[in-house]
Amino acid sequence: MKEPLFGEFETSPHEPHMLGAMQRLEFPMRRYRNEEQVDYCLVGVGSAGGVLLQRLSRAGFSVVGLEAGPFWDTERDWVSDEAGSHQLYWNDLRITGGKDPLALGANNSGRGVGGGSVHWAGFTPRFHPSDFRVYSEDGVGADWPICYEDLKPYYELLEREIPVSGPPYFPWGHPHGYPYGPHPMGGCGDILIKGCTKLGIGVSIGGPVAILAGSHGERPHCIYRGFCIQGCKVGAKQSTLISHVPDAIEHHAEIRDHSMASRINLGKDGRVTGVTYFDSQGREKQQRAKAVIVCGYAIESPRLLLNSACPGHEHGLANSSGTLGHYLMAQGGNVVLGRFKELVRMYKAPPAHAMTEEFYETDPKRGFARGFAIQTVGPLPIAFARQMMVAKGAWGWGMRQLMMDYNHWGAIALLSEILPWDDNRVELSAERDHRGIPVAKVTFNLHDNDKKVIEFGKNKVMEVMYAAGAEEVVQEARYAHLVGGARMGNDPRTSIVDKFGRTHDVSNLFVCDGSILPTQGSANPGLTIQALAARTADYLISQGTAIFSKSTRDMETPSIRYDMSPPDTWGKGVPRLK
């Protein structure tokens, strides 16, 4: 076909706000005045914030979500282009340092409604039962204040709400299946399967990923264009923007975009009274609220709480433990690149589509605690060139020549556990951003166990790449994901929030996002963050107005609610699974 049947694709100027190719968002949205005391003010409408906003508004609470970035219209704002997607990431200044500094921005930090779930590759493995008791089992890291069984029903629920596509039987951790069927393979998936099979390593094929293998409600299935981390214009890959936010708007939640929170305000009674923020015009404003939930992820959440220091909380709000910003984690994410005689064309198909967790658990024979996963990735040309700039030191004619072979290269990657360490931190820098808010300084150092897992894991991934038939194999060290910085725990002396995300120090202040994770295993954290948000929402809903007035805390876990999901959750997918 030389031309599209009905001519060049155009967006009608009269199109409503689009979320994906088919879903129209019905406006107008409820607007609250600054003076109105809303029930909940959320800071950040990302993976956790989107789910919370939807749950709390559906339960009838008045909710405002402050979001630093835009409220995306996916048809107008997103592009099927690598360089053109720069706006999806948190691009404001941060300082990164330590012995093993983390790359931030596009590497791990989202901005705009949907947050990180807009640019994640979409892998959605659950954490293993062992992840919740790392300290008890291995004597390192930390235990969670909850166990796998506490989160399991929420994993199952979110796997339906997202919904997740994957194999009918996923054999690692707590074995389970998925509501939507697995995806077809792309070049990198075939490489992973071939290499692993030769070495006798089991592989999960076609998921688990938050990408639709079949259409769902107003969301079409995947078209395999490979631009997942540039934002899915199709609407096949889940972000809370397309899965939960429409239901929140429908239930009268307000999302105030381009609104950057600068501090949380504390009243004389020691309870928070609302949030100070800069609006889209750069004007400083305050939103009053009966309770505040910080959902800004592992760097911005600690930064906001540190910037909210006030009398009685001199070292940052809710930081009586002195651990705010500490125990920041990433995962080892070395990319292993292999050149094949045949063409691969790894730009097709979602980067995330096959994985193995065969090496996830501690194996005493290996001489280190915990383990790693191996997953497919699919770097587009710019990402690939930058990987080669490091992996091979390529530049000049060498870079030009190597890039002409882009289609001969395939990529798979390590995802290894890095333990929580006190010296890996988010602190405030002496520098300020353009609004005058002190910026975050991130310090990161690998410790002995982390280095051993990465070394072993990297070599294993390279072995798989060679076994798949690659004639040349190179790798680039990098890190994936961010969690920690405001961890949850039972002991107020060593953690920031309790098992429901409530800060130990302030009874109407919560943190709910990746920053509350005490450890993160070798699983991508997105699903767990959304599951935790749904669990916190159930707790808040069960508590009713008690959150807004009482300072005593009820630590009873409410039962899970199956009536709070967005529409289209039930009766969809492959019926063979309960």
Binding site: E75, T96, K99, Q401
Partner: protein, 255 residues
């Protein structure tokens, strides 16, 4: 002497002669991602066409810096195998990023701002050229220019020590190369060169396995060529001489 030899240009291995400049280098003859633009969504088409058709003016670099930067970029990603009308403009895009202060969301401690880093880097490159050859970088042959840059790549610059006290050598190198490749491989000409399918919404891809082309893509047709004799950039050696470079630039969230 042919133009290519004078330039230290690449060699056609079939003939042993300098490689002719082409409209489209690479192994995918006649493959044109832009020929598919009617199949792209409107927002994407707009962004890509703007990139190709509207070259931003130089506003950040002063004229001397811009000239030097152009010469540096031509060595970081040489384009002498491209004919004049199909060269990919690099400096203007980097200049625009710096002018508009479009950051990547972080700065390494011990590094100055991206703007200052690029300015200092150009000064250092000129100082190294003067130190080794007693001439301006602009007056060196391509291979000499490569040798100057190779000292930075290797983490062993023989001059400009005051500048390297303000910024680590390898961090500057990665910033520079990152900016250049981020511009080159964002251009449809580069996609045609490497056989990348380009934007694919709303159409998508159907042939996912076995490296098969879509009906509108083309099969690979290789030609053998080599970098100029003695080109330091043709040898793949690790940045700063170390195989593990700690904390390289972010790459768009690989996973």
């Amino acid at each position: 002497m042919s133009r290519s030899e004078r330039d230290g240009g690449p060699i056609d291995l079939k003939t042993g002669k300098p490689l002719q400049a082409r409209t489209q280098p690479g192994y995918y003859p006649k493959f044109k991602t832009m020929s598919q633009k009617a199949f792209w969504d409107e927002a994407t088409r707009k962004v890509v066409l703007e990139r190709v058709e509207q070259i931003p003016p130089i506003r950040f670099f002063n004229p001397e810096e811009a000239t030097l930067m152009a010469a540096v970029c031509e060595r970081i990603l040489p384009q002498s195998d491209r004919d004049e009308s199909h060269k990919i403009p690099i400096v203007n895009a980097i200049d625009e990023r710096l002018h508009k202060d479009r950051l990547d969301g972080y700065r390494y401690e011990h590094m100055p701002s991206d703007q200052e880093a690029h300015r200092l880097g150009l000064k250092a490159i000129e100082e190294i050229a003067q130190h080794i050859y007693g001439k301006s970088f602009l007056n060196l042959s391509p291979l000499e220019q490569e040798s100057v840059l190779a000292t930075i790549h290797d983490g062993q610059p023989p001059a400009a020590h005051a500048i390297w006290e303000k910024m680590p050598v390898s961090r500057f190198w990665l910033l520079l190369v990152s900016d250049v490749v981020g511009t080159y491989y964002a251009h449809p000409y580069a996609w045609d060169e490497i056989g990348f399918g380009g934007p694919a919404y709303p159409r998508g891809y159907m042939r996912l396995e076995g490296g098969e082309p879509e009906p509108w893509e083309v099969h690979e047709k290789r030609y053998e060529w080599a970098a100029p004799e003695g080109s330091p950039s043709a040898k793949y050696t690790h940045v700063g001489g170390s195989p593990e470079h700690k904390g390289s630039p972010g790459q768009g969230g690989t996973h």
